[in-house]
C-alpha cells in the first residue's frame, strides 16, 4: 500500500538510470558498461555505507594502537564479561576467575594474534579500510557525474511551451476561466507570476501563449555540494597525512627547545626556531586538586630574536610558521627548585603585582612598583646551624625558604629570608615592597603537541560546504510553474501547472494563492 512510488519519482521521471546516456554507448563494451553501471548504483552506495559502519564497529570494540599487553588484557576482560553473562564464571568471585584464568587468557591471546593478522589492531589504517574508502569515493564520484546532465536539464533546459497534455498530467494544476480577451489573460498571468517571484518567460505556439517561471533552481546543487564536500574532506585528510607531521616536545621551564619527537616516523626532528618556556603553572578549583587550568608562557626565538610570545593553554594554542603548539601535558622534572613570589607595593593603597621565579637568577624589574627583585638562595628545609647560619636539614620541602634582595627606587638594596609556611616570619620588615612566598616546587616541564597540518583548512572548507549543501538539499526547493493561455470557441482558459522537488505542501499553498489571484471567482474575494 505504501510501497507505491510517491510523486517525487513522478516529478523526476526522466531519471538518468532509465535514459540512454549519450556518448556512453559509443566507446563502451559490455564489460565497461557493466562496470559503469556497478559503480554508478546508489544501491552500492547504501551497501558501502552499511559496510563502513559495520567495519568501524569492529575497530571501536578492539582497542586501537595500544600495546600488546593492554590489548590482551582488554580482550581478556571482554571474554570474562561474556563468560560472566553466560554464567561460566562469576566475575565477582576471585576463586571462579582463577579457575578459568588459563582458558580466558589463552583465548585472549589467540584473539589478539588473530586481530593483528587481520589488521584489527590498527583497523582505520588497514589497507582494506582505505580500499573501502577509495571505492566509496569512486562510487560517489561516478554517481554524481552521471546524475549531472539530468540535474542540468532540470535547472536550465525547461521548455517554456509544454504541450497541454504534459501540463494536465502534473499533479498540481488548475484551470481558470478569467473572462476577457486572451491578451488580457496573458498579461494577468505574466503579472501574477512576476509578483510571486517567478519571472516568467513567454512563448507562443499553436495559438496559445505559454509561460514558464522557476524559483530556487540552485537548490538542486545542494546534493553536489554535499557530495563534493565528502571528497574534499578526504583530500584534506590525505594532504595532512602526506604533507604534515605530528609530534611531541617537552620543554623544561626556563629553557628552550627546538627538537620534537615525530609520531609517524618515530624520529626526532628539529624545528627552524626555538620555543622557550618561561613559566608553567597549574591553577586549581578552590582548594581541590582538580585542575582548573594549566598554561605555559612560551616565547618563539628565531635567529636569536624573540619573535612572539604567548600564554598557551588547552584550547588556546600558539601558532608560528603554520606550526601549532598545543598544551598537552606537564610534569615534574625532578631537578632544581622553583619559588614563586608575589610582589606588591609596600603601601597597601598603591596597586600592582608581579611574580618572580627562582630559576630567573637575574634580578627582575617591576617598573610599576619601582623595585627590582632577585632570588639569591633557596633552601627546601630551612634550619639554622649552631652558628646560626642557614642550612638545609634535608632536600624535602619541609620548610621552604628563600633569600631575596629587593632594590628600591633609591637604589637601596635590602635582603630578607622569606618562608612559605610562615608568612610573617620574614627577617627584615622594611623591604621597599611587600613580597609573599607563594609556592615552592620542583621545576616542571610542559608537554606540547606539535602539529603541522597543511590539509586542515581544506577539511574546514569541506565541512562548511557539507553543512551548506545539506541545508540546501533538505530545506530549499526548486519550484517550477507553467501557464498556458488558450482560446477556443471564444472562451479563454488559463491552464496553470507546476511542481516542486521538496516541500510540496508549501508549494501547493503558493500555487493556490497564485491561481486565486487570477480566478475571478476567488480573485474578488481576495481583492475585496
Amino acid at each position: 500500500m505504501t510501497e507505491k512510488n510517491d510523486s517525487r519519482q513522478a516529478e523526476d521521471a526522466p531519471a538518468p538510470e532509465k535514459k540512454e546516456q549519450p556518448g556512453k554507448k559509443a566507446g563502451g563494451t559490455g564489460f565497461v558498461d557493466a562496470l559503469w553501471k556497478f559503480f554508478s548504483s546508489v544501491h552500492l552506495a547504501v551497501i558501502l555505507l552499511l559496510i563502513l559502519a559495520a567495519i568501524s564497529i569492529i575497530g571501536t570494540v578492539l582497542a586501537q594502537g595500544d600495546s600488546a599487553k593492554d590489548n590482551i588484557q582488554l580482550y581478556e576482560n571482554m571474554i570474562v564479561k561474556i563468560f560472566d553473562t553466560l554464567g561460566v564464571v562469576d566475575a565477582n568471585d576471585p576463586a571462579s576467575l582463577e579457575a578459568q584464568h588459563e582458558r580466558t587468557h589463552l583465548a585472549a591471546e589467540r584473539l589478539y594474534r588473530f586481530s593483528v593478522r587481520a589488521g584489527f589492531t590498527d583497523l582505520y589504517h588497514a589497507w582494506y579500510f582505505y580500499a573501502l574508502l577509495a571505492l566509496f569515493s569512486f562510487n560517489l564520484l561516478v554517481c554524481t557525474i552521471k546524475r549531472w546532465p539530468f540535474t542540468y536539464r532540470m535547472m536550465a533546459k525547461n521548455e517554456v511551451a509544454l504541450p497541454e497534455k504534459r501540463l494536465k498530467s502534473m499533479q498540481t494544476r488548475r484551470a481558470i476561466t478569467p473572462g476577457g480577451t486572451r491578451e488580457e489573460a496573458a498579461a494577468m498571468v505574466e503579472a501574477g507570476m512576476k509578483k510571486a517571484g517567478y519571472s516568467p518567460k513567454r512563448a507562443e505556439s499553436e495559438g496559445a501563449v505559454s509561460f514558464f517561471g522557476q524559483k530556487g533552481a540552485w537548490s538542486r546543487l545542494g546534493v553536489y555540494g554535499t557530495h563534493a564536500s565528502i571528497l574534499i574532506i578526504f583530500i584534506g585528510g590525505i594532504i595532512g597525512v602526506t604533507q604534515g607531521f605530528k609530534g611531541y616536545m617537552q620543554i623544561t621551564e626556563g629553557t628552550s627547545e627546538s627538537r620534537f619527537f615525530d609520531r609517524r616516523t618515530k624520529t626526532t626532528m628539529i624545528l627552524p626556531f626555538e620555543i622557550r618556556c618561561d613559566n608553567f603553572q597549574v591553577d586549581y578549583y578552590g582548594d581541590s586538586r582538580r585542575p582548573k587550568d594549566f598554561y605555559s608562557d612560551l616565547v618563539v626565538v628565531q635567529d636569536g630574536e624573540e619573535k612572539m610570545s604567548k600564554r598557551i593553554e588547552v584550547n588556546s594554542p600558539l601558532v608560528w610558521d603554520d606550526i601549532w603548539f598545543y598544551q598537552s601535558s606537564y610534569g615534574e622534572t625532578g631537578r632544581g627548585a622553583k619559588v614563586t613570589l608575589r610582589i606588591a607595593a609596600a603601601a597597601a593603597s598603591s596597586s600592582g603585582e608581579g611574580v618572580v621565579k627562582q630559576f630567573d637568577t637575574r634580578p627582575m624589574d617591576f617598573p610599576d612598583l619601582g623595585v627590582s627583585v632577585q632570588v639569591l638562595q633557596v633552601i627546601p628545609d630551612f634550619a639554622l646551624d649552631e652558628n646560626r647560619r642557614p642550612y638545609a636539614k634535608s632536600n624535602q620541602p619541609n620548610n621552604p625558604a628563600a633569600l631575596i634582595e629587593v632594590k628600591g627606587a633609591d637604589g637601596d638594596a635590602r635582603r630578607a629570608w622569606l618562608f612559605q609556611r610562615y608568612a610573617d616570619a620574614r627577617t627584615s620588615k622594611d623591604l621597599p615592597a611587600t613580597v609573599t612566598f607563594v609556592d615552592y616546587g620542583g621545576i616542571q616541564y610542559t608537554g606540547l603537541q606539535v602539529v603541522y597540518d597543511p590539509g586542515v583548512w581544506v577539511i574546514w572548507v569541506g565541512c562548511t560546504l557539507m553543512v551548506l549543501g545539506l541545508y540546501t538539499a533538505f530545506f530549499t526547493s526548486h519550484r517550477r510553474i507553467w501557464a498556458r493561455v488558450a482560446e477556443s470557441d471564444g472562451k479563454v482558459t488559463i491552464l496553470l501547472a507546476g511542481n516542486a522537488n521538496k516541500n510540496r505542501e508549501g508549494f501547493a499553498e503558493t500555487f493556490q494563492s497564485l491561481g486565486d489571484r487570477m480566478d475571478p471567482k476567488t480573485g474578488e474575494k481576495t481583492a475585496g
Partner: protein, 352 residues
C-alpha cells in the same frame, strides 16, 4: 529557589501529559487532546526555565558564562528530554496531529526520570576540566542532542510503522518492530517503576531496575519477568489482530513514513554539525580533528547509517518497512554512541 524544583515540576507535567495523550488516543476526545498539548507545553516552558536557572547557577559557581549546562551525563540527558519535547511540539503543529504524543511524552518523561534516579550519575554542578571549556563544545553538544532527539522521534514512529504495516506475524519486519517495541517499552516501564517506587518510598535505589528485574526480592523479580513475558505474548498475538483498531488511532502509514523521514532530515544535518564542531573542538584543543576514538567513531557509524537511510529512500527507492528498519538500527547506534560507548567500551578500556 533552585532549578531542581522546576525540573521536578516539568517531570510531573510530562508524566501527566503522557497519561493525557494515551487517554486522548483511547477516547478520541478533542478536549483531552488539547489539554495534553497544553500540559506538555507547560512542562516544556518550566523545563526551559529550569535549564536557564541551572546555567545561571553554574555560571555563578564557575564564572564560565558561556558554557551551557551540558557537561555531564545528567545535564545532557535532561537536555535531550527537552529537545525531544521541542521537536515533537513543532511536528505536532506542522502535522496538526497529536496521536504521536502518546509515544513521545512518555519517552521524554522516562529519559529525564531515568537519569534522575540512576545511581553513580552525579547531579552536582561540577567544575570543568580545562579541555571542556570551549564554545565549540557548546555548539557540538547542543546540535548533537537536538539531532539525537529528532532521531528518537523517528525511531518511535518507525517502530509503530513496522507493527502497523505488517500483514502477518511471520513477517520479519513485524518481528523487528515488535521486538523493538517490547524491549523499549519494558525498559521504559521498568525505569518508571523504579522512579515511582523511589518517589513514593523515598528510598534511593542501589542501581537501575532495583524495583523490578534486579530486585533483591525473588517475587518482585519473578513478577517482572512474567509481566514482560505477558506483554510480549500480548503484542505478539494481539498485534496483528488489533492491527486495524490500533491503526485507526494513529495517522495513516503514509504520514508515519513521512514523519520518520522528515525527522531524520532534521536530525541528519544537526548530527553533521555536531560531528564537525566536535572535530573543530578537538583540533583546537589537541591538534587532531579526528582520532578514531570510540565515541567519534560511533557518531560516524550513526552518520553512515542515516546517510544510508536517506539514499535508500531518495534514490534507491526504498520506502516504508525497509527504511523503517534502518531508522530503528540508526537509533540503536545513537543510543550506543551516547550511552553504550561510555559504559561498555571506555569501561573496557579503563579497567586494564
Amino acid at each position: 529557589m533552585n532549578s531542581s524544583l522546576f525540573f521536578n515540576t516539568a517531570l510531573v507535567a510530562y508524566l501527566v501529559a503522557s497519561v493525557a495523550y494515551i487517554t486522548y488516543l483511547a477516547f478520541r476526545s478533542e478536549k483531552i487532546g488539547v489539554a495534553a498539548t497544553f500540559i506538555t507545553f507547560f512542562g516544556f516552558i518550566v523545563q526551559t526555565v529550569a535549564l536557564g536557572m541551572r546555567w545561571y547557577e553554574k555560571a555563578a559557581i564557575m564564572g564560565f558564562g558561556h558554557i551551557p549546562p551540558l557537561s555531564n551525563m545528567y545535564e545532557s540527558m535532561v537536555f535531550w528530554g527537552w529537545s525531544i519535547v521541542l521537536i515533537y511540539l513543532i511536528f505536532e503543529r506542522i502535522y496538526k496531529n497529536r496521536a504521536l504524543g502518546a509515544i513521545v511524552t512518555p519517552l521524554a518523561f522516562i529519559t529525564i526520570a531515568a537519569i534522575s534516579i540512576a545511581p553513580n550519575i552525579s547531579k552536582e554542578i561540577e567544575p570543568l576540566v580545562p579541555a571542556l571549556q570551549s564554545n565549540w563544545l557548546s555548539v557540538h553538544v547542543i546540535t548533537s542532542f537536538l539531532g539525537y532527539a529528532a532521531f528518537a522521534i523517528s525511531f518511535g514512529v518507525s517502530v509503530l510503522y513496522l507493527i502497523l504495516a505488517a500483514d502477518k506475524r511471520s513477517e520479519s519486519f513485524y518481528i523487528i518492530g515488535m521486538l523493538s517495541l517490547v524491549f523499549t517499552v519494558t525498559l521504559l516501564a521498568a525505569i518508571t517503576v523504579d522512579f515511582l517506587v523511589w518517589r513514593l518510598t523515598g528510598v534511593p535505589h542501589p542501581h537501575l531496575f532495583a524495583a523490578s528485574f534486579s530486585s533483591p526480592r525473588a517475587a518482585v523479580k519473578a513478577v517482572s519477568w512474567v509481566t514482560s513475558g505477558f506483554f510480549f505474548a500480548l503484542v505478539w498475538y494481539g498485534g496483528v489482530q488489533a492491527h486495524d483498531k490500533v491503526a485507526a488511532l494513529f495517522p495513516s502509514l503514509k504520514v508515519l513514513d513521512d514523519v520518520s523521514y522528515k525527522t531524520i532530515m532534521v536530525g541528519f544535518p544537526l548530527l553533521t554539525i555536531g560531528i564537525v564542531t566536535g572535530a573543530a573542538w578537538a583540533n583546537y584543543a589537541w591538534g587532531t580533528y579526528w582520532s578514531w576514538d570510540p565515541k567519534e567513531t560511533w557518531s560516524l557509524i550513526t552518520w553512515f547509517i542515516y546517510a544510508a537511510f536517506l539514499h535508500a529512500r531518495f534514490t534507491a527507492g526504498w520506502k516504508g518497512k525497509k527504511t523503517a528498519v534502518l531508522s530503528v538500527v540508526g537509533f540503536a547506534a545513537v543510543i550506543f554512541t551516547y550511552i553504550g560507548v561510555n559504559f561498555l567500551l571506555s569501561g573496557l578500556h579503563s579497567y586494564g
